[in-house]
């Protein structure tokens, strides 16, 4: 890992089009600003990991037997539609 020391207001650049600026430090919290092109996804690590794991779980729907899933989805559909009628 490359480790750099920066002062507040200073930046680092990554490649041609990513710039990270250190804005504010308060106790153990640091505020940083990130400028990156739209195709570069910037996320907090923990939420990114959480959603990644959720997607992997969701894709395991393939392990549910083909015959039982339509019944499950039909049952859920009835629940959802019943709810809408009540509203």
């Amino acid at each position: 890992m490359l480790i750099l020391t920066r002062k507040l207001g200073e930046s680092i650049t990554i490649g041609d089009d990513i710039k990270i600026t250190f804005l504010e430090a308060k106790g153990k919290q640091v505020r940083i600003g990130i400028e990156a092109p739209p195709h570069i996804a910037v996320h907090r690590e923990e939420i990114y990991q959480l959603i990644r794991e959720q997607n992997i779980q969701a894709a395991k729907v393939d392990s549910i037997e083909k015959d039982t899933l339509p019944d499950i989805l039909d049952g859920l559909r009835n629940l959802l539609l019943k709810d809408q009628q009540e509203l």
């Binding site: 997607n55 894709a59 339509p70």
Partner: protein, 150 residues
């Protein structure tokens, strides 16, 4: 164009309906092409089927059906990336997780797939709104945020 899928066997894919993922489904970034597969018109649960890997398919639902007062705010960077000029062209798909033992069904409201239906481009975005749950349960068996319907 025909595709061999794990769940539906061989399906016929209308090439004009292929959705190009920009940035991909998180954790599945290598899969770039998907189709929305509607097995039963009357059922709000649809399938988001990968064309690059026939084994990968997600159950998805319009998040507003799962939670009527859902209010997602899409980041400017994402609207730019998805070339969204008219909100009417936006379709949201929330990924559904179905677990069997114990049985639970949850909807990911924090990271919807935003589709520009006109241009057939999409991205799974992560909303800044921390009150949107990653697991919004449609069943009472799960823990955490629950829908009132179960």
């Amino acid at each position: 164009m025909n595709l061999i899928t794990a769940r539906f066997g061989e399906i016929d894919v209308d090439e004009s309906k292929v959705i190009d993922m920009r940035g991909g489904v998180i954790g599945f970034e290598h899969l770039k092409k998907f189709v929305l597969h509607i097995q039963d018109e009357k059922n709000p649960f649809w399938w988001f089927q990968s064309l690059d890997d026939g084994k990968v398919a997600f159950v998805v639902i319009n998040p507003f059906i799962a939670k009527a007062d859902y209010e997602p705010v899409i980041d400017d960077n994402d609207t730019k990336l998805l070339e969204i000029e008219n909100a009417e062209h936006v379709v949201l798909l929330a990924i559904v997780t179905i677990l069997q033992n114990p049985f639970s069904v949850s909807v990911n409201l924090r990271a919807p797939i935003v589709v520009n239906a006109e241009k057939k481009i999409a991205k799974q975005v992560i909303l800044e709104d921390q009150t949107c749950p990653v697991q919004y349960y449609l069943t009472t068996t799960g823990s955490g945020d629950e829908a009132s319907i179960a």
